[in-house]
């Protein structure tokens, strides 16, 4: 293993190169741009033998991925925020067509008001689309989850697309040491793309037919079953990944100092790093706080979560998103996972539109949870309201 210090987006681009997509179709949008620029350079320099389609919109970016995947190619795209919103119809459609597309999401807030900065509203709004959703804590996870996603998605028992989500700017633009595996290792792990079926004049089939009420419900059931099966596929391939690359991804959720914790913080993405540091400091002060990191949001590992949180007396969920008029999307599902346990689950909406979340904020939230105060926006500037 050789650690190199590089920008998150470049680490992702170099990793995508190792996965050997034959077609890349993407449209530039902040803060995803360095990924697609990196891939364009990689293709231009002959370091990856791929067709790079400079589409005219995100809508076409993912549409072209549908065509290329259906024709039998491994494909890649990346986007964020407004781009993901624009491609919404294609997001649902590509999942229903059961095409194993991998797409990087450099998480960013949604307009209005316009914000180029980080939160996770973009990928969260696609939670019902039938795509798998993985969230990276750091750039190493962003790298590894790309490789792992292709392995899971292309399994003929799964055949689904996946988002690899990593926080915009906080990860995409930050320089960190990462281990970029070798081409040989990735080739051994992934192998070439073997489509389950493809557009082929020697064996003509019809893709994307419409379903009458006699059939539609079963299509949706099969799709839902496949998303659920992806949990076991992640456990299996995450373990194999660990054996190959030395970093285990067999757990859909991951505890940090959680075993003996009284209070559990639940979070996704880069905020987990800050939370771990805050927990270390709180532990030094004698406070028994732990973290449950959600790495896989779709499928939602409710049973794993209930088990991991069974012994705590309070749960504080950090949501970098808001289902307006309800609660944070993660908290809604954590509350459901913990239903019947009697454990209070408090939701904290924070960090929206790039508002910084510091260690002292995490500590403050733990204090609020201890007092039974939650289900609130955290860090509001009262003078503006």
């Amino acid at each position: 293993m050789t650690l190199q210090i590089m920008e998150g987006s470049i680490a992702v681009a170099e990793t995508v190169r190792l996965c050997r997509p034959q077609v890349i179709s993407a449209y530039p949008i902040t803060p995803q741009t360095h990924i697609v620029e990196g891939l364009a350079s990689i293709v231009a320099d002959g370091r990856l033998d791929a067709e790079y389609i400079c589409v005219e919109s995100e809508f076409s970016a993912l549409s072209a991925c549908i065509g290329a995947s259906a024709a039998g190619s491994r494909v890649y795209s990346a986007t964020t925020s407004q781009g993901l919103a624009l491609m919404a119809e294609v997001v649902f459609n590509s999942a229903g067509m059961r095409l194993p597309i991998v797409m990087g999401i450099a998480n960013r807030a949604i307009s209005a008001p316009l914000s180029i900065w980080n939160d996770q509203q973009d990928s969260i709004m696609m939670r019902d689309s039938g795509w798998l959703q993985f969230y990276a804590e750091d750039n190493q996870e962003a790298v590894d989850l790309h490789i792992l996603s292709y392995k899971i998605c292309e399994d003929h028992n799964i055949l689904l697309p996946a988002f690899v989500c990593f926080d915009g700017f906080i990860l995409s633009h930050v320089f960190e040491p990462v281990d970029i595996p070798s081409q040989e290792e990735v080739d051994e792990f992934l192998g070439p793309f073997t489509p389950y079926q493809k557009l082929n004049v020697k064996d003509p089939i019809s893709f994307g037919m419409y379903a009458t009420p006699e059939y539609y419900l079963e299509f949706r059931y099969e799709h839902d079953q496949a998303v659920h099966r992806a949990a076991d596929a992640m456990r299996k391939y995450g373990k194999a990944f660990g054996e190959k690359f030395g970093r285990d991804y067999s757990e859909l959720v991951e505890g940090y100092r959680l075993e003996d914790a009284d209070i559990a913080i639940v979070a996704m993405g880069s905020i987990c790093g800050t939370t771990k540091d805050a927990i270390d400091e709180m532990r030094a002060e004698g406070k028994k706080v732990g973290l449950l990191k959600i790495r896989c949001f779709r499928p939602f590992p409710a049973a794993d979560i209930a088990k991991a949180l069974a012994h705590v007396n309070t749960v504080a969920v950090l949501d970098k998103n808001i289902s307006l008029g309800a609660k944070g999307a993660v908290a809604i599902e954590i509350k459901e996972a913990c239903y019947g346990s009697g454990i209070p689950v408090y939701d904290y909406i924070l960090g929206l539109g790039g508002r910084d979340v510091r260690k002292k904020d995490i500590k403050k939230i733990v204090e609020l949870a201890e007092k039974g105060s939650g289900d609130m926006f955290y860090g509001l500037r009262e003078e503006l309201l």
């Binding site: 034959q22 549409s63 290329a68 024709a71 557009l199 082929n200 089939i205 037919m209």
Partner: protein, 296 residues
């Protein structure tokens, strides 16, 4: 010349009796030949040909969404190119006018600008027929549709057809043509030519819709020929931006073509609307001046 006896569009589909689009598609596939992958946007054709688990397509076919057929075709082309299959397999989009000139405009413009090697054939039945005859950008002037109804304050659709063929000529398309299902040999020949021209090619095919336009389904071919004969549907080819062929006719006035369809009935009943009919005649006259349709 490709084998015209091939039948890649099977019988038993659910189009209306007398559907111009379904006849056009059969001819289009004969022109395209074997080894064709078809992309269809959402629309009449997609719906009447592929109710799961039945399909009328005997050649590979894919439908994704209403507006993205050109982008899907772009991806297929890139994939075939990378797999070394593009010399043996060809890509053909067949979509309706709504999917093409309206909602799919962004995707078709992008795909033609990028220069992908595929052919796009629009079957133009001049409105959104699948959803119940609503106006599209390809609906002709004064046609009555369910969203451009004629009435006390309306003579129907108040705008002329969007000229997508010329828009795509402006994209430097190497081959742009118009055709009609009423002249099948000409249609097949043009499709074959487009499929064998490298780069993005476009053909807009007049496809009368008996249900939407209001005429007897036995007269589809006749209506198609009348459109050409009155100059409202010029049939031409443009290679590298220059007109290379035009279907010449001994032109007749637009009246008989209009009278034959219920969508123009309001121009004749209760009284003949001379002013509006003159405007439609002016469109035919302008086509004649532009493309040189008249037999001298």
């Amino acid at each position: 010349m490709v084998d015209r006896t091939i039948e890649n569009f099977d019988c038993g589909h659910r189009a209306c009796g007398g559907c111009g689009a379904s006849s056009a598609v059969r001819m289009i596939l004969k022109g395209a030949g074997e080894n064709t992958i078809v992309v269809s946007p959402t629309g009449c054709l997609e719906v009447f040909s592929t109710p799961y688990p039945e399909t009328a397509w005997k050649t590979p076919w894919i439908h994704s969404l209403f507006e993205n057929a050109s982008a899907v075709a772009s991806g297929i082309e890139a994939s075939l190119k990378k797999q070394g299959r593009l010399d043996k397999e060809k890509i053909l989009v067949i979509g309706g006018d709504g999917a093409t000139v309206d909602i799919g405009m962004l995707c078709i413009s992008g795909a033609f600008e990028r220069g992908h090697d595929f052919t796009y054939v629009c079957y133009d039945n001049e409105a959104y027929m699948n959803t119940g005859i609503q106006r599209s950008g390809a609906t002709p002037y004064d046609a009555d549709t369910t969203t451009s109804p004629s009435g006390a304050c309306s003579t129907g659709n108040n705008r002329p057809k969007k000229d997508l063929p010329q828009i795509l000529v402006a994209h430097s398309s190497p081959y742009v043509a118009t055709a009609t299902m009423a002249y099948p040999m000409d249609l097949m020949k043009k499709v074959e030519k487009a499929m064998n021209t490298p780069g993005p090619c476009y053909i807009q095919v007049h496809a009368p819709c008996c249900t939407g336009w209001g005429f007897d389904g036995a007269k589809t071919m006749e209506i198609g020929r009348m459109a050409v004969e009155c100059g409202l549907w010029p049939c031409y080819e443009m290679v590298d931006g220059k007109i290379t062929s035009v279907k010449k006719v001994k032109r007749v006035l637009v009246d008989e073509y209009l009278k034959a369809q219920k969508r123009f009935r309001h121009l004749f009943k209760p009284t003949r609307n001379d002013a509006e009919i003159a405007k439609i005649q002016a469109i035919a006259d302008a086509n004649t001046a532009k493309y040189g349709i008249d037999i001298e």
